[in-house]
């Protein structure tokens, strides 16, 4: 499936992706409602963007009490059905990566929806730190292990 891959070593912590994400989804610049996050520990020289990995065994999906989270049969992406979501935040708790978001006004969970196939964050990242890549989703534990060994991450 196609999803957004982050290459933190190319990131400069400019947060352009957060702006682009919120602008696409909210029509305004409101990083508090972004679905991609830049962590910027400048002093530790540690920064990069993270967003939904659409895990093969998505814990958000497995833990949703109202079955509001599904995997799209064609694109393979994990998505939230807003009509079914009751805003209980179980998925936020379940996500090992902290990349399930919550829309405070709509009171629903939200994750990266790949902008319907035209991800704005990737488009705006002139540094090549974000890539819209064709990769198979991994199980969350495998992904976590990869992230903890940065050299092996792809």
């Amino acid at each position: 499936m196609k999803m957004i891959l982050s290459h933190p070593e190319k990131c400069v912590a400019c947060h352009l992706c957060e702006g682009a994400c919120s602008f696409r989804h909210e029509g305004a610049f409101v990083p508090a409602k972004t679905r991609i996050w830049v962590f910027d520990f400048i002093e530790e020289q540690l920064y990069g963007a993270v967003t939904c990995f659409h895990c093969a065994d998505a814990p958000c999906l497995a833990n949703c009490p109202t079955y509001a989270i599904s995997r799209h049969p064609e694109t393979g992406q994990v998505y939230v059905n807003e009509d079914r979501c009751i805003g209980c935040k179980m998925c936020l708790v379940a996500c090992p990566f902290g990349v399930m978001g919550y829309h405070a006004e709509k009171r629903v969970a939200q994750n990266c929806d790949l902008c319907g196939g035209d991800p704005q964050c990737v488009k705006v990242c002139v540094y090549g730190a974000l890539e819209y890549a064709d990769v198979e989703p991994l199980e969350w534990a495998v992904r976590l292990e990869q992230l903890e060994r940065p050299a092996a991450a792809s």
Partner: protein, 607 residues
């Protein structure tokens, strides 16, 4: 509902301890674009320009632009405005980082600090909750320490702009530092904040910056992003080597100011240029908010040097101020001095210029031996211990000499009876381009409203960096008046919009104006746009005239006017200022004394 703006001003009366919120004056916002222009309008209307810059009647304004917080390329700037403690003219210092956007997300376009707090305070802004809090526990601490403490007691995602020991001690070259290493550097705005007893403004915001025409905005932004990403200046030089990429060039042509502008080439320039930084100290590149250039350098001193540390920098201007201008070519020492300036919150240009002035005064024997005897280092060019030692004396006003240094280079040189050895204009130190090798910069320094400054009118782009067919001969004075007016008005528009002037090496003003229109819903034509830039420049001039400045202050030190440069391609050049200045006043529509003529003011809507 306003667009581009969030429509609200936060006003803090420190004397009374009162916080009020008021709607942004949209009529002024339309006339003065935002940020620098709009802040100047508020300052012009609200304070007496003759007031004591360190007294309670001065105000310190933190202003954002309509593009701040959006994804317009480099849309992350804010400005600090006040009457300058260094120049007694208008001060407007521009900074990037993350603080400005956060202020807008919290729901404010501007913060106005007025009066004076009875004891040290900081301001905590969490969306619509605003508190004036005791800051006695962070008073005296470096920017680094106080940011950590304030973040721990407010919000882990809070962004902080504040002062260090230099600002607290009213050092006239003190700056405001945000996000630990981004500086609203020039004109001593940190001292003005210190005089108000305000340590920091801590902000966390979760709101939105609305856009009038989202589709139109995204279209022009993506065009602009593309040109930034293709331009050799922004995508290669600045992204690749940071502003330090300039060192090699200015040194080669002979306009890299060295040893208090005595020469324009530095024998150790290769030790402190962009390549050396990339090879020896650079750990990562960094960008400010919404920046597609990424010129910031995260660095760490490695190896056996006696100077150790890590942080951000050095910028080109810092390499000059704390390096070449003081004759220091030891990169770890320059970098350490840079980190120290960030911790103590001092402008690296003016702190460096002050030290260079002191060094020349000392070498020429103008400082009595008893004043030098108290110093734990030898005050001479090329001595890094002297640079670092002076920075500490200056920030803490230690001893008689520290007290003098803290007054800035002009007052220091004047104290010892040789004001001609101060290299600057309106008591503010020059930036890192010797104007004898770029005459337009000479006129720009002389007429800059905030004192000597390269960013108020960066004619370097046309005089040295433009392709040959578009170049304005740097040694000629012909056409420099019109060129300066153009670059000055241009910079006024850029600063006011809330974007960084660096993106404008690639983005056109047509694109910037289109972004402004799409964001705000205004329909400014290009004529309106340029007129707004000119209006801002003239309003700053009016502020300065009312503050008591005039033609006599639009000048350069005798060294620039009479002592020819030696070495490089610039051999024998001086600045022929008078004819340029006369022509400049005409081009500006000002009289012989530099006052805007009534018809000029009427044309600009300033009458």
């Amino acid at each position: 509902m306003p667009y581009g703006w969030v429509g609200q001003v936060l006003r803090i009366d420190l004397t009374a301890g009162r916080v009020t919120k008021e709607p942004l004056n949209m009529e002024w916002a339309r006339q003065f674009i935002g940020g620098r222009g709009l802040g100047t309008k508020y300052l012009y209307e609200e304070i007496d320009p003759r007031c004591d810059p360190l007294g309670p009647d001065n105000k310190v304004i933190f202003a954002t632009g309509p593009l701040t917080g959006t994804y317009a390329p480099t849309g992350g700037r804010y400005m600090v405005l006040c009457k300058s403690p260094l120049t007694d003219a208008i001060a407007c210092s521009n900074s990037g980082g993350y603080w400005g956007p956060e202020l807008k997300f919290a729901g404010y376009d501007m913060v106005i600090l007025e009066g004076r707090a009875p004891q040290p305070v900081y301001i905590w802004v969490y969306n619509d909750q605003v508190e004036i809090r005791d800051a006695s526990h962070v008073w005296g601490k470096t920017t680094d320490e106080s940011e950590d403490i304030l973040r721990a007691e407010t919000d882990p995602q809070a962004r902080i702009a504040g002062i260090g020991p230099a600002g607290e001690n009213l050092c006239r070259v003190a700056c405001v530092i945000n996000d630990k290493s981004r500086a609203a550097g020039r004109s001593g705005v940190g001292a003005a904040m210190g005089a108000k007893n305000v340590k920091a403004i801590v902000v966390r915001g979760t709101g939105a910056v609305p856009i009038a025409d989202p589709l139109g905005f995204s279209q022009v932004v993506f065009q602009a992003l593309e040109v930034v990403n293709k331009s050799p200046t922004t995508a290669k030089a600045l992204r690749g080597l940071g502003t330090a990429s300039t060192v090699g060039f200015t040194n080669a042509v002979g306009i890299l100011p060295t040893r208090n502008f005595q020469v324009g080439q530095f024998e150790l320039a290769n030790n402190v240029n962009g390549q050396t930084i990339a090879q020896t100290v650079l750990t990562r590149n960094k960008g400010c908010y919404s920046c597609p250039i990424g010129c910031a350098r995260v660095t760490e001193i490695k190896g056996a040097s006696k100077w150790q540390g890590k942080g951000e920098g050095p910028e080109y201007e810092t390499i000059f101020g704390l390096g070449t201008d003081c004759g220091v070519g030891d990169l770890p020492a320059v970098l350490y001095a840079n980190y120290l300036c960030n911790l103590l919150a001092m402008d690296t240009i003016s702190a460096g210029g002050t030290i260079a002035t002191a060094m020349e005064l000392a070498e020429r024997g103008y400082i009595p031996p008893e004043d030098l005897a108290e110093l734990p280092f030898e005050l001479r060019f090329g001595n890094p211990d002297a640079v670092i030692g002076c920075l500490e004396l200056m920030a803490y006003r230690r001893g008689k000499f520290g007290n003098l240094l803290a007054e800035g280079g002009y007052r220091l040189a004047e104290h010892y009876g040789h004001p001609e050895l101060f290299m600057g204009v309106k008591k503010q130190d020059f930036a890192a381009y010797d104007p004898r090798g770029a005459k337009g910069m000479g006129l720009g320094y002389a007429t800059s409203n905030r004192g000597a400054c390269h960013l108020r009118g960066y004619s370097m782009s046309q005089e040295w960096f433009a392709p040959p067919d578009k170049r304005s001969d740097p040694f000629s004075i012909e056409g420099k008046a019109a060129l300066q007016k153009y670059v000055q008005d241009k910079a006024a528009c850029e600063d006011s919009a809330g974007i960084c002037t660096f993106s404008m090496f690639a983005v056109s003003h047509e694109q910037l104006c289109a972004m402004y229109n799409a964001a705000t819903g205004e329909r400014l034509s290009m004529d309106d746009w340029w007129l707004a830039g000119e209006r801002i420049w003239n309003l700053e001039r009016l502020f300065n005239l009312r503050a008591g400045l005039g033609r006599q202050d639009d000048t350069l030190p005798p060294r620039m006017l009479r002592e020819p440069l030696t070495g490089g391609s610039v051999q024998g050049q001086v600045v022929e200022l008078e004819p340029m200045l006369e022509e400049y006043y005409q081009v500006r529509g000002w009289d012989e004394e530099g006052h805007p003529r009534p018809e000029t003011l009427a044309r600009l809507g300033l009458a």
